[in-house]
Symmetry: C2
């Protein structure tokens, strides 16, 4: 592609409202344009990346024996009513009605539609198993769309659905899909981790998430090297501390802690470690009352675990400052379990502390030397916290934490949808039996953003070769002043393109500095620079956008050798 023909506007400034690197860089490099909140146009260079991701996903799904189809984006309400999701899905579902006042939604997912197809198409166990997939535009009416494509409202998903006679068959396909996903992320050259996860809204018994690893990832992943332990922190169990709780050795005392608003400030004032303190969070109960949650000062509440406790309101709802004051008689920072007239649930680690420090339910006051059973009743206890690095896994290994961006999620749905929608087949004995289902999603457009989160530097994007919009960028420096530069660059562009190499040819009449900056911003892996001086010596300059040793050194390559040199470079990267 000749850059002189493509209207491409790049920006040096970080766009307002773009909070994360991928969003900033995609806007700066002109890969996407914002149309409205959570709605983006894929501009030509950005679309090339999206299509490459799509192609790899498609190839691996096909190899795994899945059949591609394409369902409508617009779905009738009646199907969603069969599974009770028309109401339950809430405002995330973009609803509309047609000119005849029939209700529809813009599909955020397609379990109902595919189950409707399955119940009409599949009649016998002989037709099973089958896996169908599509790569298609979806819509989720996010309350606060942000982070560009990471949480857009309109987005592109690969969603697959499998149908089975029995659990063994479902497990086989589920395992095959897990392998296929791993292959896909390997081919995309995006280091990834798969973890056990919560099934959430989609439902079902078992699910596994696939995360592209990136420091900016929203999800925390708990894993143990050389152990079969890898879980989203939201699901990872925190082992209860081993051994008996130490006996009380201090008396309970009230001490003034004026102006302390955080655990850290309390610890600094009292010169203690955070794990010696317990914090008390007030949350809403299902019956309209309140519940006190007690955690170690260095631990954080895990909402997914808390929501699973009977009596806790779901979704988890923290009490307002007013509600806290009404039950604890003080501001949130000074609430504590002693004398609190509430149901109290302590995390296992909090229950294991003796001589602890906690809020005194009085403004600017804490209690020290507090002990369960002596100064306040022994509470209920549960696993309520997020695991942290160094925690022990059930098998005894040390847990590490990685940050990830969720780009894939596979689920065993069992008979949840097939039972409510009456999707049955005849089994070997001629009896009707509900099919079992699996579903398997990949966030195709999200992968592009995740790839940038994982692959960028101060100058711009550093695409992995398999999904770079072009393999090579050719920069013709000051070609208006040099007929040799222009003709060598033209020839090279034609030669490489004819050899099947994807080349972005910067033939614009702009300063070399602009060319270099744009090439770095766009992140094409292999750069070839053609300048008059080097050309006089019969050489070109070659540079990798992201070299193994992180140097930005360029190499001189003889003009005659460039085609085979580039061919070798590209081959070694794909």
């Amino acid at each position: 592609m000749r850059l002189s023909k493509l209207p491409l506007t790049t920006f040096k400034e970080i766009p307002a409202d773009a909070e994360i690197a991928s969003h900033q860089l995609m806007l700066r490099a002109g890969l996407i344009k914002r149309l409205a909140s959570g709605l983006f146009t894929w501009m030509p260079i950005g679309l090339r990346v999206l299509r490459k991701v799509e192609a790899i996903v498609r190839e691996e799904m096909d190899k795994a024996g899945a059949y591609e189809l394409l369902m409508p984006a617009v779905q009738p309400a009646e199907l969603w009513e069969e599974t009770n999701r028309w109401e339950r899905y809430g405002p995330l579902l973009l609803r509309m009605h047609d000119r005849h006042h029939r209700e529809f939604c813009f599909g955020p997912t397609h379990e109902e539609v595919i189950t409707d197809i399955a119940r009409r198409e599949l009649k016998s166990y002989k037709q099973l198993p089958v896996t169908w997939y599509q790569i298609q535009t979806k819509f989720r009416d996010e309350i606060r769309p942000r982070f560009g494509l990471m949480r857009a409202r309109e987005f592109i998903m690969k969603d697959a659905y499998s149908f089975h006679l029995d659990q063994e068959s479902l497990q086989t396909t589920y395992d095959l899909m897990a392998e296929t996903y791993q292959l896909i992320f390997d081919r995309l050259n995006l280091p990834c981790k798969s973890v056990d996860a919560d099934s959430g809204e989609i439902g079902g018994a078992q699910s596994r998430e696939f995360h592209v690893l990136a420091d900016s990832g929203e999800d925390a992943l708990a894993y143990v090297e050389n152990e079969d332990f890898a879980m989203n922190v939201e699901l990872a169990p925190a082992s209860a501390p081993k051994g008996e709780r130490a006996a009380a050795s201090q008396d309970m005392k009230k001490i003034a802690t004026p102006g302390t608003k955080t655990i850290d400030q309390v610890c600094e004032l009292l010169a203690v470690a955070p794990e010696q303190t317990l914090k008390t969070l007030i949350i809403e109960a299902e019956d309209g009352g309140m519940i006190g949650i007690v955690l170690r000062g260095d631990h954080s509440l895990n909402p997914v675990k808390a929501e699973k406790i009977e009596g806790v309101r779901s979704p988890l709802t923290l009490a307002t400052a007013e509600q806290v004051e009404s039950v604890a008689g003080t501001k949130p920072g000074f609430a504590g379990p002693v004398g609190l007239k509430l149901r109290i649930i302590a995390d296992h680690s909090a229950l294991h502390r003796s001589d602890f420090i906690c809020g005194a339910n009085e403004s600017d006051q804490h209690l020290t030397g507090v002990n369960w059973g002596r100064d306040l009743p022994e509470p209920e206890s549960a696993d309520l916290r997020n695991v942290i690095a160094g925690d022990l896994s059930p098998q005894g290994g040390h847990i590490a934490i990685a940050r990830g961006i969720e780009v894939g999620h596979i689920f065993q749905l069992g008979d949840k949808y097939s039972t409510s929608m009456d999707a049955k087949v005849l089994n070997q004995n001629g009896r009707e039996q509900p099919m079992l289902m699996g579903c398997y999603g990949i966030g195709v457009s999200r992968i592009v953003a995740a790839a940038i989160e994982q692959n960028h530097d101060a100058k711009g994007i550093t695409w992995p070769d398999p999904i770079a919009p072009f393999q090579v960028v050719v920069l013709a420096l000051n070609s208006k002043k040099s007929a040799e530069v222009r003709s060598s660059a033209d020839t090279l562009y034609e030669t490489l393109t004819s050899a099947g190499i994807e080349v972005l040819y910067d033939d614009r009449d702009v300063r070399p500095g602009v060319m270099f900056a744009d090439a770095d911003l766009l992140g094409i892996p292999h750069q070839i620079v053609i300048g008059a001086k080097a050309l006089a010596k019969g050489v070109l300059e070659y540079r990798q956008r992201k070299s193994e040793d992180n140097s930005s050194d360029s190499k001189e390559i003889n003009l005659d050798d460039i085609e085979s040199f580039i061919g070798t470079q590209i081959q070694s990267k794909n």
Copy 2:
């Protein structure tokens, strides 16, 4: 693809509600499934056809220098309000609002969105011309979706938009797009005709439609062989008859024509040709009154022409029987221009008649020997009718009529959108100037249906090679009974597939009759039949689904020669 693995249900019966061949055959062959009115799922084999059409369209658009992008399906109302189309588009526009009560639509077309991109991206004439396109899902809330994909509500379009500094540049791209479209339909192997057309809702000065020729086509196309005359009948001018009107030779008489409800019945009763009669249609005027339209009995009213006459209500609205009775004093079949107290507009051909027959404005009565100027005033006259075969073109050639299915439409929009949306660039003199626009659509999903309308027989679809879902179908007859058949078929399937040939392998345990019927229904161009008897002779049977001589004869091919034979067959067809 092994048919034993793919759940494919085909039907012998013509599905209810499927009125046209393409709709019937796509449902019967399992290429699509209906989800709701005007909404269809593309099943795996159907989707392969769609993707082939997409790929050819994409390749030719890329070759023409257009840049692919992808705009959101969901569009904000504000943009449509800038062009006044939010109201004007009417109920065809599927509207919705998000959780924050902002209004959106599911885009039926993208002029507003692309113009918004252009006004933000394009600042200088140096960036022009540029053509952007996308292949994307659209929605039109048709009042009566029917004919399957031919008039679906959700459908796939290729829509392209070009931006220019001046008319010369617009004309150049418009001509290039016309050539590109012709190339696309040539490559699809779908005989096609391009005709001048009305611009309709989209607007603009000049437009051209591309039609796949098929007897079942909704559109009538007027053309003259060896002349530059090709127009949609809605636009084709009917030349006024040459020469003076013949002098009156008969007296006006009233005669009884009891029970005649049609022109044909009147002609039969009076033993005259239809062109000797004139019919009178009453239509609504813009001011709420009525207008009488007079046409020759063998001609039909052209609504597009009528709507362009000052004072005629648009859209054209025929008077009800009650309205006719109130102005003509009789039922519609007996209305006539003599004594009718209305504005009368006669088509040029009607004005040229003397001694004509028309309704007498009395029940069961007609007038004969009527003459303009003598028996009633000379009326206004205009071109109001559809041309018919044999009419003369302006250059004097004989017009022929073909039936077509509209699959492409290109428009010169001029500054319609760029002016209302303030999309300007700086010209060579540094002055702001609105850009000129062209837009270019292809109905990608519609092409699949149109291809079937053009290519089918009593047994099913007869795909043109370039868009057939598979190139070859291999039928293994009674393979359960013959290990040789099974192993030869398996080997052939593997061999052809490895050679890059797309093979549908019917390895099902079904009767040969079912296999043959499904192969014919699915319309794969090249059939290879492997049966035990032939195999014992070392041969296979080869048959073309649609042979040049329309015979269904099969040839025997030696087992050893089949790969090269098939290779040659395929090559000659692509």
